[in-house]
Amino acid sequence: MDLFALTACELRKLLDSKEISSRQLVESVLKRIESVDDKINAYVYVDKEEALKQAEAIDARRANGEPLGLLAGIPVALKDNLLYYRRPVTCASNILKGYYSSYTGTAVEKLMKADAVIIGSLNMDEFAMGSSCETSCYGPSRNPWNQDCITGGSSGGSAAAVAADETILALGSDTGGSIRQPSALCGVVGMKPTYGRVSRYGLVAFASSLDQIGPITKSVSDNALLLQVISGYDHRDSTSIKQDVPDYMSELKKTIKGLKIGIPKEYALDGMDADVEKATKQAIEIFKELGAEPVEISLPHTEYAIATYYIIATAEASANLARFDGVRYGNRAKDADNLIDLYCKTKSNGFGAEVKRRILLGTYVLSSGYYDAYYKKAQKVRTLIRQDFSKAFEKVDCIVTPTSPTPAFKIGEKINDPLTMYLSDIFTISLNLAGLPGIAVPCGLSSDSLPIGLQIIGRPFDESTILRAAYSFEQQTAFHSQKPTLV
């Protein structure tokens, strides 16, 4: 039996009954990384010895009959923008190469408290800016289903590692679709929780009013399990919310009979991929069979979401990334004449094209004379987008859409055309603007055998309902059990 191929929920049973040890499991995953990561490029850092040491410590505690956490002995890998004290963290940027985390973030601390084994960090678009993982300074991760194709992004390494069985669980971060879109394109389950559900302390900030950490997993149950571990109020993040965290694992199994599922009429786009359209329609039929009730809804400001997002996200990014100036972090340009010259040269050498482009755009929309025309205007449209969802949720319990308008495209296909690349986030971006939770779950394969993902959107802090809908859907279908052939 290949342990690396199993889900966390399956492995917990084997570990609990002592049929396997955590050391065996970690060895199996490390071996898998060795044999396939040359093709996938999911990892930027693997800490083999540390992982084995953690596994042995947990095995010893299990042998002693000590109480253990929810993820005891199970390998988890981190997106390369999550801080873990004294481990390298680079956000896949040259500017941070050689930097070591100066503290441990809350989500990672919670993994450690749950006795997970942290095995390494995963590739991403530079500073999470991108939809294809191609802006990484380590080169793109490759889609396990077809290595000429992108993984999606920005959490491309996280989604690819889970899809290729190079980890059991992974954490990503989602600012405009960065968990859900790569999860859909790699055929795995990815959740962006409600803004405020998971502490952002120790997540390198991209756009602070939109960023959220979330789980990427092989199954919906695993997703619920990992969300359970990382959720909750944290005084170190003033935007985390004092709300009870439900027992997601028991919420999962409840029926969806009578659940009202909103189908937004604006999401039937011209030029949407035919396979994606077909898979989404089939998914709605499956929900009907399960006793749910589709209801047509309207989200009239959908067409303004991308424009709104690229103003707000870049404005926040331009402020957040100002700190990478060669003084306190990472790399510094040589031969600077004075302090200003040091800043200019450090940023010029350290940042890639997409990051520079977004810093420039963000600086522009915040600059004197343009603030009201762009930034304030976008904040107002953000209100309209939120109101669309509030109105819709008066009629329905959740909303179903495609996650991405197309399956994975070819590496290199869109990288020189930023605006077209931005449009691939059309279905995911509104949720970040409205702060809502959303989950991507496999719903079919395209005619080229590339995964297609359904997105289920919930009310604020109602992750339970979308997990339940996703779980019922998963139990009724076989899409999640399809795996790419590697090696």
Binding site: A307, A322, K347, S348, R357, K377, T383, P418, G435
Partner: protein, 95 residues
């Protein structure tokens, strides 16, 4: 073209990034088309709409201003690319 190379020069200076000529050409063209796209927001009348800064009903989260020990501070400072006597070293700020 609404967005010019002079605009790129100006915002690059504000953002403290030096750009090559090729980068300036590219960014002028790309930012012009992105800005043209985002101008579609002007189709909407938002005069009576309140702006959303972030989605939570939370404002001004305060805590007591108490000094506490920080065990990781030294390691954090050591991450600087250039230290002198345990302090950040930078080129001259004023001649």
């Amino acid at each position: 073209m609404a967005f010019t190379k002079q605009d790129v020069d100006y915002i690059a200076k504000l953002a403290r990034i030096s750009l090559s000529d090729a980068e300036k050409d590219n960014f002028t063209r790309q930012l012009d088309s992105i800005l043209e796209y985002v101008n579609k927001l002007n189709e909407l009348d938002t005069d009576s709409v309140e702006p959303t800064a972030h989605i939570l009903p939370v404002q001004n989260v305060f805590r007591e201003d108490e000094a506490k020990p920080c065990k990781t501070a030294e390691f954090a400072v050591e991450q600087s690319p250039e230290l002198r006597d345990g302090l950040y070293n930078v080129p001259p700020v004023i001649e």
